[in-house]
Amino acid sequence: MGSNDREFCTEYTGFEMMLVSACRQIKNDDIVFNAFHWPFLAVHMAKLLHCPDLFSVLEVGLFQDELAKPNKMPYSISDPVLVPNSLFVGDSIDALSILQRGEITVALLSTSMVDKYGNCNTTVIGPYEKPIYRLPGGGGATEIAGLTKRLIWLIDDHSKGRLAKKLDYITDPGYLDGYDSRLKAGYPPDTGPDSIITPFCIMRFDTITKEAFLEVLHPNITIEQVKENTGWDLKIAEEVKQIDPPPIKEIEICRKTMRDAIDQYFVLKAEWTTYLDKD
């Protein structure tokens, strides 16, 4: 172990903490559905940190267990650099069928808005046919949310608008109306949201009601801060854990990944990249 494995980083952004918490949820023996945007970065970090053998499935129809060479961040799931470094290339149906057969153990998804049952909206704000704001649409996220064993939502801005009381549209199914409503809709019993990770915290879901509750606070964040910025009356675990600041090694990998992403034209907000040029 290098000397910086146990040394904590004192200066980092909430976005970096979100990525660090996200990548820690992935295990080396997972079969991960690697989706575009922030999950792409978290999976890349996991691969470099603690998951050297991680097997990934990409929705374009590609399986891989090594990073693309040259060792850079692909710009998207359809980057041709991925192809000569993969184990399998087929059709999207190949990738989505792996999901439907129940073989994907974990997936992360970044999303626009989530509610307390882990349902998400990336479609519209306002009425469907005449929206106030049109959003991109779900892409493969609908299936990933419907069929992954452990689903992790990433929300890059912990605010009432993003962790919303009510969604105008459900693009991706969480626990629908809570309790057994997801099961009744026909989704496999061993699937569903596992957590919501934001710059502030990690929420998990009650095993009976399927409602999200605060379980882990990121360093220097208070319960009040989380509650005030969540759109519903958030339930709190009996014992909320507050985790340590991230080790320097994790932050270094995180920043390398973020720099690689910027090189590939990912747009990262200035407030997320405060420390990128200081290393």
């Binding site: 575009f36 945007h37 929705e59 374009v60 129809g61 590609l62 710009y75 998207s76 799931i77 359809s78 980057d79 041709p80 991925l82 192809v83 000569p84 290339v89 087929g90 059709d91 999207s92 149906i93 989505l96 439907q100 479609t123 469907y128 046919e129 005449k130 929206p131 106030i132 704001y133 049109r134 991109p136 649409g137 779900g138 892409g139 493969g140 609908t142 299936e143 419907g146 069929l147 549209y169 459900i170 693009t171 991706d172 199914p173 629908l176 409503s181 997801r182 809709a185 026909g186 989704y187 496999p188 590939q264 034209y265 990912f266 747009v267």
Partner: protein
């Protein structure tokens, strides 16, 4: 079609002969091999009321919307994947009905792939497990193709089914084809193989036109056979600004700038004039793109994977 008639023609002829106003169109390519050249020709020929379908619409659909070619898109996602940044023409059309009101028939990625697959198989629908309880399942009828549930005759379980899609015309941009239209694609295919085979009429655009013997050397790379193909277009760089494996890489800078260059309606009109309506064909488009950029995007050759076909 008579064997004597050649299928080789220009993109102008291929679109002119095969695409009618109001048609349902499939456009191939998932990031790789997107049919930009064909879409630009539809814009120049002022096609109207097209319904367009593909797994992810991206800036290709954004251009068809902005130019008033389509008023109905069928896809799972429509945004500028570089950034990612908004697809401004999509937003203007949905939020302000500029240049016209459009329908976005949003489907899930699996739903649209399986709709093409049912079309490919020649059956009316296929079951999937993923969309009950979402807005996608509950769309109003006016939005068009929608899912339903049926009772499985074998297990009695209620399962979601999605309808077949058989577009009137399909276009693909592939690495190579012969003059009859046997088309080969490798690398990232996404929905292209099932989508194109579900179509009633087919236009194949290829980076290279090769002898039939080349096709027969690795027949498993063929994604559509000549018997179904109506037109073959030799169209190098027809997928720019997307990539074609072995030929050229994605033009990230161009795609990134597209967002800021199309943010207002005036910006978009300038962009449209510069890249589409102000040029006659792909050759002229490439002159606007410039030799330096073409050189930069050209793929470094990586030939690998020879196998023994002996018997």
């Amino acid at each position: 079609m008579s064997k004597i008639t050649t299928k080789i023609m220009s993109m102008k002829e291929a679109i002119g002969k095969n695409v009618k106003n109001g048609d349902l169109i499939f456009l191939g390519g998932f990031g790789n091999g997107m049919t930009f050249s064909a879409a630009h020709e539809m814009i120049r020929q002022k096609k109207r009321d097209l319904k367009v379908s593909k797994c992810g619409g991206g800036i290709l659909f954004d251009q068809l919307i902005g130019a008033g070619v389509t008023n109905h898109i069928i896809t799972s996602h429509c945004w500028n994947g570089t950034g990612p940044q908004p697809a401004w023409n999509l937003k203007r059309a949905m939020e302000e009905e500029i240049p016209q009101k459009i329908i976005y028939n949003e489907q899930s990625l699996f739903m649209i792939n399986m709709s093409f697959f049912a079309g490919y198989m020649g059956i009316p629908f296929v079951p999937i497990r993923s969309i009950v309880g979402t807005g996608i399942f509950d769309h109003p009828k006016e939005v068009g193709l929608k899912a339903a549930t049926v009772e499985c005759p074998f297990t009695g379980e209620e399962i979601c089914v999605v309808p077949a899609m058989n577009p009137d015309v399909g276009v693909i941009q592939v690495q190579r084809a012969d003059s009859e239209g046997n088309a080969q694609m490798w690398g990232l295919i996404g929905d292209t193989k099932y989508g194109i085979n579900a179509c009633k009429k087919i236009i194949v655009a290829a980076e290279e036109i090769v002898d039939k013997k080349i096709i027969m050397e690795s027949p498993e790379r063929t994604i559509v056979g000549a018997h179904k193909v109506d037109a073959v277009v030799h169209e190098p760089w027809g997928a720019h600004p997307s990539s074609v494996q072995g030929f050229y890489y994605t033009d990230l800078e161009y795609r990134f700038n597209y967002a800021k260059e199309t943010k207002t309606i005036e910006d978009w009109e300038n962009w449209l004039e510069k890249w589409i309506t102000g040029v006659n064909d792909r050759q002229e488009y490439l002159k606007v793109l410039g030799e330096e950029k073409i050189k930069f995007l050209k793929a470094n050759s990586l030939i690998q994977g020879a196998v023994d076909y002996g018997f």
